[in-house]
Amino acid sequence: MLYKILGKNEYEDFLSDLISKNEVIGPKKKDGAYSDFVAIKDPKEIDTDYQKTTLSPAKKILFPSTEDLVAFKISDTIEAEGIVEYEQKVLLGINAWDINGMNFLDRFFTTDFIDENYLAKRKALTVIGTDSVPTENNFAHHMNSEYAIEGFDLYFSDLGDRFFVRAATEKGNRLIEDFPRFLDTSEDDFKEFNRYMEDYRAKFKLNINMKNFIDNFESIYDKEQLWQKLAEKCYSCGSCNLTCPTCFCFNVKDDINLDLKTGQKLREWDSCMIPEYGLVAGDHNFRPDKENRLKQRYKCKLITFKQKYGKNSCVGCGRCIEACLAKINIAEDINTIMKEVSI
């Protein structure tokens, strides 16, 4: 890791320089309390205080909601050609938990199989992180994701009059070399950065009883009444999955043109909370009940990948809580579940 300092005025110029040379995707005010990551043409467009985005900017770019995978042509034989689309982009202003969410997707899409479509986009992406203010539903601090140690090229922490900059990759080092106004760090800068992180961590208020959750999960697995209660208001609308920065499930479809000879295979985001997810041939459904689907989601987010990768797939961003019109709240539910265990 390379550590540098950049003055506030220099930062403006750094952004102008970056925007003039690259396609930069950054946060811009959208509607209500929400911002959205879109192409930025002028540093003034950037919403530096953004708090909420419906989707993770990294997932939106790397694993788009709909994506063509294969173009095919049926004649006497079947010709098929893979479609891998990517563009060089700079993702500016992504926060720590969304970087950690991206790190999870990086691992998922390159473990057991290599997802070429994801990987090509990932390699073409430069990631410049910065902290954003957590919402009241954010519990990233319980998921070790309020701070990122990898996944970004550069990370800017705002010390007030200057930025403390971390470069985690060769790409990040080059960005620093290309803009010769970064300064070396002093011991005071490190001290102040540590103070800054202490203050920043204090902004995460949610208190969740995550302790021993994994060890105890099995014991509540078959408590049907508990799960029925937790899932009672669920619409099975998938909003929790679809706004999750780490949900990776997709459905593959054939889209055949009207000539009935050409077409494309495409994938689109799927959701384990909708009944059709578990539907297979013969009209059998593995998870016809919403309580089983909720249990599956909590297990996938909090247990499965902790066992598989040593890391939760949940980064605690709180989007699923904010997107749920039925007010199903994973943070509250963890506490409810742990209370049940202690009885």
């Binding site: 309390a33 929400y34 479809k253 043109n257 959701s271 059709e276």
Partner: protein
């Protein structure tokens, strides 16, 4: 085997579903190459009673409609109901809430006897419908998908999940966050969340999903200041004929 012959028929409605087929523009030539359109009320003057597939828009609201729909049923092998009026009865069903005679009187006054009006019913009250292309207007690409699937002998993939799925895929801010109400959580997707994309609440023009959480939806709307009457009028806008399961 020649190209399958298709008839496109209009019953009681605004005619917008047929217009949606004409709006296919880029795909229209491909469509008329793939099938032989022998009747298309809104687009061609020629007519033939020889067709295998009938695409039907509009609901059945007169005795004359009943005669026509029964004739189509006796000819076509495959019936596709196109649009909310054909699928669920659509907006026309609001007439049933008043009662046929009362509605005729309200609209036509002392001339009400000139009007041959019966209880509004969707197409499947008279014919076995093979495929439904829901919505007001229907999604024209879904109509193509149904025709294409018929040609290929496979099932079209028509979503039974709620509008929220498409809305989130599109990255929309929830319209509830914008201070409005929406029937999206219990309504069938397939429209690409058309209304929420324009920051306006879903009105369930494609009907409700198979297992809607109606209690949660009622609580949600009540929380946003709607009375039971407001809630029922939201549900009934497109679904009064088939809304009995959500009362």
């Amino acid at each position: 085997m020649g190209k399958p012959k298709v008839g496109i028929f209009g019953f009681t409605g605004c005619g917008g579903c047929q217009l949606e087929i004409l709006n296919l523009e880029d795909q229209l030539l491909d469509l008329v190459s793939a099938v032989d359109i022998v009747h298309f009320t809104e687009a061609i003057t020629e007519h033939s009673d020889d067709y295998e597939i009938a695409l039907i828009e509009g609901s059945i609201t007169t005795e004359h409609d009943v005669e026509r729909i029964e004739k189509i049923g006796s000819i076509a092998n495959v019936i596709v109901a196109v649009g909310a009026c054909a699928v669920s009865g659509g907006l026309n069903c609001l007439k049933n809430l008043y009662g046929t005679q009362k509605a005729a009187e309200l609209v036509y006054g002392d001339k009400k006897d000139w009007i041959d009006t019966i209880e509004v019913k969707p197409v499947d009250a008279y014919l076995k419908v093979d495929h439904y292309s829901r919505g007001c207007p229907p999604n024209r690409f879904e109509i193509v998908d149904i025709v294409r699937s018929l040609l290929l002998g496979r099932q079209p993939e028509i979503p039974n999940y709620p509008v929220c799925v498409e809305c989130k895929r599109n990255g929309n801010t929830c319209v509830y966050e914008l201070g409005m109400t929406c029937l999206g959580p219990i309504s069938r997707a397939g429209c690409d969340s058309r209304c929420p994309n324009s920051a306006s609440g879903c009105e369930a023009c494609r009907g409700v999903i198979e297992n809607p959480n109606v209690n949660a939806q009622k609580d949600l709307l009540a929380e946003h200041g709607l009375t039971v009457k407001d809630i029922m009028s939201q549900f009934n806008l497109y679904n009064a004929c088939k809304g009995k399961n959500i009362e």
